[in-house]
């Protein structure tokens, strides 16, 4: 008997209200304390906030406590809805008026509450089964998609090629529109062409592609003199160029203006005989006239530092890379179903309330 009483108290309207407030309090905490969701690294320095992850406050919305509260709320809603259905079933044997009243109010409440439960189920399923990936592609580049997505839901050979990327700016300098012209490839065969804009995603094989962002990246136009010939190259930051079987170099940094001496790039050079780095300035001749002994005092500024190789930086050309978000959420239809249930229940409830208010008013006027 005590257990029944305890359970009925646990699954009551009071419990639901208490849970609503408790979730609200946790949510407030989640906005006030800096969050470090899964996959992101907190600050490297030790901090008092380092204890927060251990009590679930470093990632409130994925914490055990928060999930338990939400699931408890769902449980209370399900139990209350079940009670409502039982009341309706009993009422079916009673007078028609009682039944009609429950038909409108009860059914709308049922839709609203079960709608919340379905939304929560869909959201949790999406978090568990869905996946997201972000990729940056430059014009002409092709990126394979399958390794980016956890699930095996797309062809392993599916790839995206960025054919063109363009940005339109307003006079104020703010971007007005940016778009990526993409080709989806199955192996080497073009499957589909798509234009990606913000707010206009593209779906293929159940996966959606979004125009997420873009950024400007410097591209170094360089010359490498080796074996009596000058090789003209373009290099992106981090790109490795092989000169022969054993020698290669990487442009590790590109600077528009280094120490007020103009454009420069840092080259990491690797060969069995000599390895190291060198800063190559585009205006090295001018720098040498101003500081005649700079190359002897700072050999890392000498473009001829590595024997047999001489580097020159002709210019820096900025180019765009487009940021594409790849998202897969198999539980989205569940969330849409829940939202539809909730909204239709709420609409019915609003109309029922207004009808009841009008009826009460009419009765009160009749009585007076």
């Amino acid at each position: 008997m005590l257990l029944v009483r305890l359970l009925s108290r646990c699954f009551s309207l009071r419990a639901a209200v208490a849970l609503l407030f408790a979730i609200a309090v946790f949510a407030v905490i989640g906005t006030l304390i800096p969050q470090h969701p899964r996959g992101s690294a907190p600050g490297e320095e030790p901090h008092w906030g380092d204890v927060l992850p251990y009590i679930g406050l470093g990632d409130v919305f994925h914490s055990f406590w928060f999930i338990v509260l939400v699931l408890l709320l769902c449980l209370v809603l399900v139990v209350c809805s079940w009670r409502g259905i039982r009341t309706w079933a009993r009422g079916a044997n009673k007078a028609g008026l009682e039944l009609r009243r429950w038909n409108t109010a009860g059914l709308s409440s049922l839709l609203i509450h079960l709608g919340v439960v379905v939304i929560v189920c869909g959201f949790i399923s999406g978090e568990c089964c869905g996946t997201k990936a972000y990729v940056e592609i430059s014009e002409g580049e092709t990126v394979s998609i399958a390794p980016l997505i956890r699930q095996r839901i797309i062809d392993p050979g599916l790839a995206i090629r960025c054919d063109d990327f363009s940005v339109e700016y307003y006079d104020s300098g703010l971007p007005g529109e940016y778009r990526s012209e993409l080709t989806f490839l199955g192996g080497d065969v073009p499957l589909r062409k798509a234009t990606l804009l913000v707010n206009q995603p593209f779906a293929l094989q159940g996966v959606r592609y979004y125009q997420a962002s873009y950024r400007k990246v410097p591209l170094a136009v360089i010359g490498v003199r080796h074996g009596g010939r000058v090789h003209a190259l373009t290099a992106k930051p981090g790109e490795v160029h092989e000169m022969d079987r054993e020698t290669c170099f990487r442009v590790s940094r590109i600077e528009e203006d280094l120490m007020g001496m103009g454009p420069a790039m840092k080259i990491d050079f690797f060969s069995p005989a000599q390895s190291g780095h060198v800063w190559v300035f585009s205006q090295i001749e001018h720098i040498v006239t101003v500081f005649p002994d700079i190359l002897s005092r700072a050999p890392q500024f000498n473009p001829d530092r590595f024997e047999g190789y001489a580097f020159s930086l002709d210019r820096i050309e900025p180019y765009y890379v487009t940021g594409i978000l790849i998202a897969y959420d198999p539980a989205l239809p569940i969330v849409i179903l829940g939202a539809s249930m909730f909204l239709s229940g709420l609409l019915a409830r609003c109309f029922f309330s207004s009808c009841r208010a009008r009826r009460n008013k009419t009765i009160a006027e009749g009585e007076s």
């Binding site: 949510a27 804009l197 979004y210 939202a339």
Partner: protein
């Protein structure tokens, strides 16, 4: 043109509020009609200003609803407060404390009109805002905020409106409930349209962004208020909660600008 019209609106609302204060303090029933005429004129100018701004944006070749920046959102928020002030008949039945709604509307639009930090020029839309969901999402949210503001004003009326309301607290409680139901409906639609828009723009319908989270907090508070009424009709407690709900709504609108997120105005 639109800015000139909108800049005049605070004076109408301030005049209407000042007259109601004089009436409440002196007890002399003067200026009632003038007060009503003032807020009605202000509301007409307010509506005209919004429409002109919308039309002007098309003549500038930008062409978008005036809902895209902080200035415009303050103007629309203020408009929804007066809209519900009119819809719920606060100017007739609850004119003493009901004029607090006019004060709220005045403060919002005065902030928009006179703040030196706000740019009242019509700005072109950034790519993320170029969506048909902008209108439905922002308008429904602000209709929700407006109804919640009126509920809070009625809550103040119930708590501190004087002995006159003690006998009519049930009627006032019913009116507060209506405001909350309507606000809750619009706010829910606002959150849902926002979720659909976020799904189209950012690839997720919910991302625990501070604005989204605070919208959820506000929604939870009003859901709790609606359910508290079913447990026990404690009108005073519900009246207090409507004020807490408005505080949460205002934080959802303004406060989250101080937390990093995708929705920040400044």
């Amino acid at each position: 043109m639109n800015v000139t019209i909108l800049n005049s609106v605070p004076f109408f609302y301030l005049g209407a509020f000042a007259l109601s204060v004089i009436r409440a303090v002196t007890g002399v029933p003067i200026g009632g009609r003038i007060g009503n005429a003032l807020w009605i004129a202000g509301f007409a100018a307010h509506s005209a200003g919004i429409v002109f701004r919308w039309v002007e944006s098309y003549t500038l070749g930008i062409g978008h609803a005036p809902l895209s920046n902080f200035y415009e959102s303050l103007v629309v928020f203020s408009w929804t407060v007066i809209f519900f002030y009119f819809v719920f008949g606060l100017y007739r039945r609850y004119e003493e404390v009901g004029s607090l709604a006019v004060l709220i509307a005045f403060l919002l639009i005065a902030c928009a009109s006179f703040s030196p930090h706000l740019d009242s020029n019509i700005q072109p839309l950034i790519p993320a805002l170029k969506s048909n969901w902008l209108i439905s999402h922002v308008i429904t949210c602000f209709l929700g905020y407006g109804a919640f503001a009126i509920a809070a004003v009625l809550g103040v009326n119930l708590l501190w409106g004087g002995g006159r309301w003690k006998d009519q607290s049930s009627a006032l409680d019913e009116r507060i409930h209506q405001c909350i139901v309507i606000g809750f409906f619009f706010f829910t639609v606002g959150i849902m349209t926002g979720a659909v828009w976020a799904h189209h723009a950012w690839g997720r319908y919910w991302g625990w962004d501070p604005k989204e989270t605070w919208a959820l907090i506000t929604w939870l508070i009003y859901a709790a208020i609606l359910h508290m009424r079913l447990i026990r009709r404690d009108t005073r407690r519900i009246a207090f909660m409507t004020i807490a709900g408005l505080a949460s709504s205002l934080f959802t609108f303004l406060g989250v600008n101080y937390l990093s997120g995708l929705h920040a105005y400044f």
